[in-house]
């Protein structure tokens, strides 16, 4: 296939196009060949297997009785299958203070505003950075971008002091605001890059039709940005759901405001005598992120590429 014999009367343009297409086709076939080689599949399967084994072990452990967990490894389960739901019962029970129920509800109360607030703000900011010309725009954008570098640890005590002064300490507001603050630089960056990729002509056409900034944003850009928003939403959801540091600092312990990660950290008891509950507790804690991820994963993969194209 090194030369294409012209069998038909083709214009030079058509011939070039055909050649290009066949070259592209060859590349695609090569890539497909390489990627679908049995060895590559094999490696992928092995990696997936190794990756899943610890989680699988955790799942098996969560159904084993306490004594079995404490005296033997989970792999002995197959020789001696004993199952019990006691661990899950203990973890979910509302009696005593070991139950995760209240923490679970708190996690939802925390995570929903902590995802929605930064997305709403970041869409507006990203639009301004991408499509509104104003003085100092680039400098400001670099400043926002640079904020990603600030480690959140250095902000903890000053931020908590501000919350205390504002009388917010011990409420959900502290956690919502903190997560929003920490998420905004990345959110603005990702959404800005995605917005910039949308062809200028589209926006200009909308403007010609008499649309203002608000109409352009809501009628033209938002529908196109669904994948990017969803991708960032998943990012932020997973981060907030799994966060322990921010919750510990701003919510403290207790069932009033603390999320499930705090409950999980305290589950094993003062001297870790109840560590057999951790496997069941972990599964209760990861079930929501897993469901969210599976439901939205097609956006996730698409969105992962969204921010990276323009840096």
């Amino acid at each position: 296939m090194s030369t294409v014999t012209p069998q038909l009367d083709l214009t030079p343009e058509e011939r070039a196009a055909l050649q290009a297409r066949s070259a592209a086709g060859r590349a695609a076939i090569n890539a497909k060949k390489k990627l679908t080689s049995p060895w590559a599949s094999f490696v992928a399967v092995v990696l997936a297997f190794l990756w899943t084994v610890p989680t699988f072990g955790l799942l098996v452990t969560s159904f084993r009785p306490e004594l079995a967990i404490k005296t033997s490894g989970w792999w002995t389960f197959f020789a001696n299958p004993e199952t019990t739901l006691d661990n899950y019962k203990a973890v979910l029970s509302t009696e005593g203070s070991s139950g995760l129920g209240a923490y679970f509800v708190n996690s939802f109360v925390i995570v929903i505003p902590a995802v929605i607030i930064p997305i709403c703000l970041a869409i507006l900011a990203a639009y301004a950075f991408a499509w509104i010309d104003f003085r100092g725009r680039n400098a400001l954008f670099v400043a926002v971008f640079a904020l990603q570098i600030v480690p959140i640890q250095v902000t903890l005590i000053p931020l908590l002091t501000l919350y205390v002064d504002a009388g917010l300490a011990g409420t959900f507001w502290t956690i919502w605001l903190s997560h929003s603050i920490f998420a905004l630089p990345l959110a603005i960056f990702i959404l800005h890059n995605f917005m910039k990729e949308i062809p200028k002509e589209l926006i200009e056409a909308a403007r010609m039709d008499g649309a203002g900034h608000v109409k352009i944003l809501f009628r033209v850009l938002l529908p196109l940005m669904k994948p990017a928003i969803a991708a960032f939403g998943i990012f932020q959801f997973l981060w907030v759901w799994n966060d322990l540091l921010v919750a510990l600092t701003f919510a403290g312990g207790g069932t009033a405001v603390a999320p499930i990660t705090v409950g999980l950290a305290n589950l094993s008891g003062t001297r870790d005598t109840a560590w057999h509950l951790l496997s069941a507790g972990s599964f209760v804690a990861i079930i929501v992120p897993v469901v969210v991820f599976i439901a939205l994963q097609r956006y996730f993969v698409r969105g992962l590429l969204a921010g990276g194209l323009k840096g």
Partner: protein, 452 residues
């Protein structure tokens, strides 16, 4: 606004009156224990705290499940009789978070601080408040000078002790002792004689394990502290902890050698687990379990080790396993190594002071003992009736703490700078057990001591 303020003043006045009443009640009643057992429905003992209806006291501690339920239960009589609400928050990240909260101006009303060093740091933030006079009086009445000293910063008393644990214990099998006719040793020489007798009987007497993740080695630091207290006395012990004498000076070297006489003697260790090196490889939780199998006779570990024996083990004087006090040089000196929490307040509202006072009384100590059906809790409060404790080990620990000859010393490695107490001391101890000489070990720790 004005009505709230006047109510506050009223509460303060009634609280103040209350404290006066507590004082008279405490000084007058020696038979306090009898009254408290009957206190469940009787509010007479709580009248002194006044009416605290609608008031809330937040408590922040490192005590989480399952030990938190007895704690919360023990506050119920106070809540029912005074009308106050106690908001209990347990958090395993307490030790870092309480500092963050104190520095940010968001401290809890009351914190249970498990280390004197942390207490000092918290006082240094300026957020802590001095203990009210009622608490100080209770400390004087129910605790010795040793405990008071740990709660005192710059001459001011800040906190009363809450719970306690005893580390100077040796676990053994009462059945084995009865069968072989061994007697519980009452001096250090007796202990060595008993050990040699066991070796003569063909046993490997001692077992130990020091594995504990990144804290591997800490059981040896406890061993050494115990020997430091026994061989050189509490005064030298304090100098050692405060680095007034060098770590590689004579007394600490002798103490570590004293430990080595047991733990590095291949004939004495490691019963049921292997040779001397196996001490480093064994998790501390498993170090004493061979006693149950009869392959080991003696294991030095704190009172909380009772929780490590499998469910169903009979832990009592005539059961499968029990503990005796690690004896002093003579029968009369009883140094006790241990730990405990201190009740530090960050607010001086009357309800906070009232609750802090309640926690420092014998009334609370006995309520707490009754509210802990599973045991695992003890206090050094001299007003605690030993009969109210459930588990035999707790009773033993309380008896040791209340012994008039007992001299209590806090775990020294917890009070040394972090570079030593939670780093060099542990690591060098681990090296020591796996072959490093005593001299090299103490020299290395001395060299690691921060310059300031």
């Amino acid at each position: 606004m004005s009505s709230i303020r006047s109510r506050r003043i009223l509460a303060a006045v009634s609280g103040g009156l209350g404290f006066a009443l507590v004082l008279t009640a405490c000084s007058g009643g020696d038979s306090g224990g009898d009254e408290t057992t009957a206190a469940s429905g009787d509010c007479a003992a709580y009248e002194s705290y006044g009416d605290l209806s609608g008031k809330t006291v937040s408590v922040y501690t490192s005590i989480v499940t399952p030990e938190d339920t007895p704690q919360i239960d023990s506050y119920k009589p106070f809540e029912e009789c005074t009308g106050a609400t106690i908001e209990y928050v347990g958090d395993k990240a307490f030790e870092t978070q309480v500092l963050v909260r104190a520095k940010a101006g968001n401290p809890p009303d009351i914190a249970y601080v498990p280390q004197p060093g942390l207490l000092n740091q918290l006082v240094a933030t300026g957020a802590a408040v001095e203990a009210p006079q009622t608490v100080v009086d209770n400390i004087d009445e129910f605790w010795g000078e040793d405990w008071k000293g740990y709660a005192t910063v710059d001459g001011k008393v800040y906190a009363a002790p809450l719970g306690a644990n005893v580390k100077s214990l040796v676990w053994y099998s009462p059945t084995e002792f009865a069968d072989a006719g061994y007697e519980i040793p009452t001096t250090l020489d007796d202990l060595m004689a008993l050990t040699e007798q066991m070796v003569a009987d063909g046993k490997v007497p001692w077992c130990a394990g020091i594995g504990s993740g990144e804290a591997t080695g800490w059981p040896i630091t406890d061993w050494m502290e115990d020997f430091m207290l026994r061989l050189s006395g509490p005064d030298v012990y304090d100098q050692w902890v405060n680095h007034e004498i060098a770590f590689n000076s004579e007394a600490p070297t002798a103490a570590l050698d004293g430990v080595g006489a047991y733990l590095k003697n291949p004939a004495f260790v490691n019963g049921g687990l292997g040779d001397v090196n196996s001490i480093a490889a064994t998790a501390f939780q498993d170090g004493g379990l061979p006693i149950l199998e009869g392959t080991c006779s003696l294991h030095r570990q704190a009172s909380f080790y009772a929780a490590n024996f499998p469910e169903g083990t009979n832990v009592s004087e005539d059961g499968d396993v029990f503990a005796f006090y690690l004896p002093g040089e003579t029968e009369d000196v009883k140094p006790v190594l241990g730990g405990g929490e201190f009740v530090l307040a960050f607010a001086d509202r009357p309800e906070v002071a009232a609750f802090q006072t309640y926690l420092s009384t014998d009334l609370w100590a006995n309520n707490k003992a009754i509210a802990s059906p599973a045991g695992g809790w003890v206090s050094a409060n001299k007003g605690l009736e030993v009969a109210n404790l459930v588990s035999p080990v707790d009773k033993l620990a309380a008896t040791i703490l209340q012994d008039p000859n007992a001299v209590f010393r806090f775990d020294g490695s917890d009070m040394m700078p972090a570079a030593i107490g939670s780093n060099a001391f542990w690591k060098q101890s681990t090296n020591w057990i796996t072959g490093q000489s005593t001299k090299e070990t103490v020299d290395n720790i001395e060299a690691a001591w921060p310059a300031s």
